[in-house]
Structure formats: structure tokens, C-alpha cells
């Protein structure tokens, strides 16, 4: 068998996840050696048609053209993996979901009639079958290499589903919530970044999306009891993974609560 053919594709996104792959300098040569990179616009002008053994998809679906293009990529790819929060949960651009997109366009563009855009920014999995979702905003290069490696070796990838807190404790970081009263999404967010924000005295922003079986209601109830407002708590959830169901539902629940009170 020859080397597996790899394609990297981009939808609505900032390119940060593709850059993570390029940043993995020390490992990149080994990747280039192990796979045949046939399509990677961020890295090379060489773009060859499918089929691909592995397709890495960055970005969310935001236009009718996107929605068609992903179908072709799916047909061309044996194994399709999304990389990053945009492709996996719709990204920061999903903040517009549920709002008046037409009005946004009028506010931003001089000639909105040239813009063709869908009402919502949606994850790839709402359009085609996804074989593996790699979380993060941006993804962690070591996790990406790990997944590629697991595909080459024919084993399951190691991308743990536990909370960020476990990583804080393993690296000896003192909890910013308990010691400094800083709000932190770590207890409900999936591991992947090695708890980088708390190590810089900041709360977790939830870049890797909801951890497995997250208890959002308890975390926000505690924050409210400690004096935070429902608006603040809901706002903290409205980030890169705002459209991930667990975060979306909790932020909606809090928004509904605010409406009821008014």
C-alpha cells in the first residue's frame, strides 16, 4: 500500500487550525514523510483532486456554496475529520444563529445584495457524516499529530473527554475560581489545551467545547449564588463553542430566565 493521501479543506474559519498543523514543525517532516499531502492550500499551491484517504476539514458551513462543496469532499474522502471549533460546533460565527442575519448584512456591507449567506453557521456534522471531530480553538497540534498517528497505526486516538480541571491539577496550577474568584469554564470543558489559561491566571473560555456529561446548570447556579448576574454567566458561554448543544442550551436557559424576570 502506498502512503495515505491527505487533503486539507477550508470553510468559514480563520485558518488558525491549519496553522497549528504548520506550527508542528518538529513533527511536520515526519507527517510529510508518512502521508502524501495532495491538497493543502495554506501550505502549497499544489492541489490535486481526490480521492483522499484522510480529509481534514476546517471551518463551518455558512453559504449555499459551502453546503454543496462539503458533499463533494465527503464523496472524495475515506475518512473525514473536522478540525477545530468552527467545523465541530459552528465557531464564533455561530453567534449570529438565531439573530437577524439580513440586518447584520445591511449594517456591515455596502451592497448586501452580492452576499449569499445561510441563516446559520453550522458544524460539518449537520451536513455530512463525520468520522472524527477534533476539538479546540485552535486545535492542539499534538492532538492532531496523535490522531494522524492513530490512523496510520490503525488504533483509537487518545483525545480524552475529561475536564480541563484534571490538567490544571496535573500541572500544579492553583484553581483560579477557588483561590481568586475568577469565573472558569474548566469544569465543564473538555481537555486538550493542557489547561493553559488558568496557568496564566485566567478562567477557561471553553475552547474545546463541552466535556463529556457536563453539569452546566450546577456551575451557573453556583456562579449566581456567588453574585454573578445571569447575563454574565450566559455571556461566558457564548464564545467559540456557543452552538455546541450543552453550551447553547444553558446560555438559552439563562437568557429565558432573564426575560421572565423582566
Amino acid at each position: 500500500m502506498g502512503k495515505p493521501k491527505l487533503g486539507v479543506f477550508k470553510f468559514a474559519s480563520c485558518d488558525g487550525c491549519q496553522l497549528s498543523l504548520l506550527d508542528a514543525e518538529d513533527q511536520l517532516l515526519a507527517v510529510a514523510d508518512a502521508v502524501e499531502i495532495r491538497h493543502f492550500p495554506e501550505a502549497s499551491s499544489r492541489m490535486e483532486a481526490g480521492p483522499y484517504d484522510i480529509a481534514l476539514v476546517e471551518g463551518s458551513i455558512t453559504t449555499p456554496h459551502d453546503a454543496e462543496r462539503i458533499q463533494q469532499i465527503r464523496r472524495d474522502a475515506k475518512f473525514l475529520m473536522t478540525i477545530g471549533a468552527c467545523a465541530t460546533s459552528g465557531g464564533i460565527q455561530a453567534l449570529r444563529n438565531g439573530a437577524d442575519t439580513a440586518e447584520f448584512m445591511r449594517a456591515v456591507y455596502a451592497s448586501p445584495e452580492y452576499i449569499q449567506v445561510l441563516d446559520k453557521s453550522t458544524p460539518i456534522a449537520e451536513h455530512v457524516k463525520v468520522d472524527f471531530e477534533l476539538r479546540g480553538c485552535p486545535i492542539n497540534q499534538y492532538q492532531l499529530i496523535e490522531v494522524i498517528q492513530s490512523l496510520l497505526a490503525g488504533r483509537n486516538p487518545r483525545t480524552p473527554r475529561h475536564s480541563v480541571c484534571l490538567d490544571c491539577k496535573r500541572r500544579g496550577t492553583v484553581c483560579v475560581t477557588v483561590a481568586q474568584g475568577t469565573p472558569c469554564l474548566g469544569p465543564v470543558t473538555q481537555s486538550g489545551c493542557n489547561a493553559i489559561c488558568p496557568s496564566y491566571h485566567r478562567g477557561c473560555y471553553g475552547c474545546y467545547g463541552p466535556a463529556a456529561q457536563p453539569n452546566l446548570v450546577s456551575l451557573s447556579t453556583h456562579a449566581l449564588n456567588e453574585g454573578a448576574s445571569a447575563a454574565e454567566v450566559s455571556h461566558n458561554l457564548r464564545n467559540f463553542n456557543v452552538y455546541a448543544p450543552a453550551f447553547r442550551n444553558e446560555s438559552q436557559r439563562l437568557t429565558d430566565q432573564i426575560k421572565e424576570q423582566n
Binding site: 498517528q149 475536564s163 484534571l166 477557588v178 474568584g181 463529556a212 453556583h222
Partner: protein
């Protein structure tokens, strides 16, 4: 040091604050790496110390469920705080370690052990509840037929300088667990801090070597009286209790108690309580290879029964809900630990209460079950 090497009656003496400062030089000259309390990240953590100035002089900690704050004291006490987010297990059972390494060569797989010169630690500031925790982890790692060589090597070399608590936090309940606040065994030296120095109890030959390198005085009756009063202050400040009467049977006969559902609504299954607990010892071992598959490292990492995938067995999760995971943790810690190791797994240090991001207090959960047991 291990409890066996401790002499029957500890000899005591008085060490002035000035002489105490020289302790660091003495320990360094004996090749010890001194680990003890210091301020970092808005908390008193355990880290490498170079001199007396690294200690949290004049600081204390205020603790309650889900909350920890540093505060200035009105004096220059060096050990005027309680216990923080770290415990000595970080040093004896490191959070991440490489157990072995394998390389593919023409002649086949070559296996090597990365260890290593084992570090020689002097732990400064070990509290009574922590001495009890060390004893529990000794039982787990070196007390049975399968000995953990890394833990054993570190533990045997370690010098334990205990400090008697002279105050307690609202989260402390060592008196309920019979583990403190008085340091009774398991140390080389034990200090009780007074305004102008320390009353030192010397319990082992290793402790003698260290104390003999310093200038000490005879501990006067007045010194002893002051030390006793200071220690009594900690006892008097302890307000939290855990009623341990028949606790094993209480929990094991209430496995379907509605309180488990109640706590599951609050628990985040975030793992913090197990990570900060000085007796929790779970880990996962995995093989990590490079891209070529020619170089493989076997890594051990702290893990937790609150991690959803920790109970994954061929085909599924055994504990697939927060309720099941919390119940597993508490029944192991307070009940089945007794069957397994002959003691409770809890020493009453209160860390799991303080460092739980939503302030869940195990003593209250047990009390709620006791009140309405079925």
C-alpha cells in the same frame, strides 16, 4: 522516615528563629532538596525552597467550601496557615511520569528504564493529617505484594519535618478522623512554632543528624507550656465534624439513598476533589509512540474516578452518570477503603471541600444520608 525507625520517646529541644534559618544550609549540605510551603498563584503551595525567606512569613489562609483566600496575619509566623491545594503526593507519586521506554532496533525492541537518580527530599511543614495520608499511601504503594519502586525510592530517602498546627481552617476535621492536629508519629523532626522559635521533637537518627548541626537549647517548661497552648488553639478552632460511627455499613446499606441524586445535581464530576486529596492514588498508564512507531514511551498520569472514561471497560462505561461516580468516590474513600486497606481513606484535611469549585462538602453529604438512612 518510616514509623518503624522512630524512637519510642521523642527528645525535645528549643530552636531559635535565627537558628531555624540555618536549617536550610544544613539540609542542603546533606544533599536534601527542600520542599515546603511558599506563596505562588495566590495560594500557599509546596515547592522547592532555597531559604527561610521563601516561607509564607506573615500570611495565612481563609478556607470555606469552594473558597480559599490568602490574608495577612498580624505577626511574622512562618507556619501560620493550614493546608493548601498541593500535597506531598505530588513529589512521591508525580502527576506525570515515564515508566519505561522502548526503541525498535535491527536487533529487536530495546527496553530501557528512564529512572533516574531518585530525588532526596526534605519535606518541611508536614501537618498531622498529612502524616496520616503518607501512611495511607505507603500502605497502597509499598505495603502489599506489588511495590511501586519509584514511590518506595523517594519515600525511603525523604526526611519528614512535621509542623504541629497552631490554627485550623473551617474545613478541617482531623479530630473526627483521629489523625490530628497533634503530630504523633511518622516524622523525623516535629516543630511547634512559638513567637521566638520552635519547640522541636527529635524522633529518628536522621532527625538527630540535622538537629545536631544546629545550635539548640533545652526546652524549658515555659517553652513546653507555650507549645501546648499553641497546639490547643488548633484543636479549639476545629468546628467541622464527621460522625464515623458504623460509617462503612451506613454507606453500603444506603446505595440507593436519594441523597446520591441530590449531590449528582451539584457535582460537576470535574475531578478536583480526587486530585487534591492526599490519599487518592489512581492513575492511568498508556503507551505513547512517535509518528514512526519506532520509539514508544510508557506514561503514567494521575487519573480519577470522576473522569468519565476511567471506568471504560471493553464495550462500555461502568459508571456512566455523575451519581454513580460520586457514589463510587465517597463509598470507596469512607467505606470500602476500610475493607481494602484496614483504615478510612480520609484523613480529614478538608482539601476536597475547599477545592471543589461548587463547594460540595463530603461531611454534609454523609450527615444527610445518616439523618434519613433507609
Amino acid at each position: 522516615m518510616s514509623e518503624e525507625s522512630q524512637t519510642e520517646i521523642a527528645r525535645s529541644c528549643f530552636l531559635s528563629t535565627e537558628q531555624f534559618a540555618k536549617l536550610f544550609e544544613v539540609l542542603h549540605a546533606l544533599d536534601y532538596e527542600v520542599i515546603g510551603p511558599t506563596i505562588d498563584q495566590a495560594a500557599i503551595v509546596y515547592d522547592r525552597l532555597t531559604s527561610v525567606d521563601d516561607l509564607p512569613r506573615g500570611w495565612t489562609d481563609i478556607q470555606e467550601p469552594g473558597k480559599y483566600r490568602l490574608e495577612k496575619r498580624g505577626d511574622d509566623a512562618l507556619f501560620g496557615y493550614v493546608v493548601g491545594p498541593h500535597s506531598w503526593k505530588q513529589k512521591l507519586f508525580p502527576p506525570v511520569s515515564t515508566l519505561s521506554v522502548a526503541d525498535r532496533t535491527d536487533a529487536g525492541w530495546q527496553f530501557t528504564e528512564p529512572e533516574q537518580e531518585l530525588p532526596k527530599f526534605a519535606f518541611l511543614g508536614v501537618r498531622a493529617c498529612e502524616l496520616a495520608a503518607l501512611k495511607i499511601q505507603d500502605r497502597v504503594f509499598i505495603g502489599g505484594p506489588y511495590v511501586d519502586p519509584s514511590y518506595q525510592g523517594r519515600r525511603n530517602k525523604a526526611l519528614i519535618i512535621a509542623v504541629n498546627c497552631t490554627q485550623a481552617a473551617s474545613t478541617c476535621f482531623c479530630t473526627s478522623m483521629n489523625t490530628g492536629p497533634r503530630c504523633k508519629a511518622g516524622y523525623d523532626l516535629a516543630l511547634t512554632e512559638l513567637a521566638d522559635g520552635f519547640v522541636v521533637e527529635v524522633a529518628t537518627p536522621e532527625g538527630e543528624i540535622v538537629i545536631n548541626a544546629l545550635e539548640t537549647q533545652i526546652a524549658t517548661d515555659e517553652n513546653q507550656r507555650q507549645a501546648e497552648a499553641a497546639r490547643q488553639q488548633a484543636v479549639d478552632q476545629i468546628t467541622k465534624t464527621l460522625d464515623t460511627t458504623d460509617i462503612r455499613d451506613l454507606l453500603m446499606s444506603n446505595l440507593e439513598h436519594p441523597q446520591w441524586n441530590d449531590v449528582a445535581e451539584r457535582c460537576l464530576s470535574c475531578t478536583n476533589c480526587t486530585m487534591v486529596c492526599p490519599t487518592c492514588f489512581c492513575s492511568s498508564v498508556e503507551e505513547v509512540s512517535d509518528l514512526t512507531g519506532d520509539h514508544v514511551e510508557r506514561e503514567r498520569k494521575w487519573d480519577s474516578c470522576f473522569n468519565v472514561d476511567f471506568s471504560y471497560m471493553n464495550g462500555g462505561l461502568v459508571r456512566n452518570s455523575i451519581r454513580n461516580r460520586y457514589r463510587q468516590w465517597m463509598t470507596h474513600k469512607l467505606a470500602t477503603w476500610i475493607d481494602q486497606f484496614g483504615t478510612s481513606g480520609c484523613v480529614g484535611c478538608g482539601r476536597c471541600i475547599t477545592w471543589c469549585p461548587v463547594g460540595i462538602d463530603l461531611t454534609r453529604e454523609v450527615a444527610a444520608i445518616r439523618e434519613t438512612q433507609t
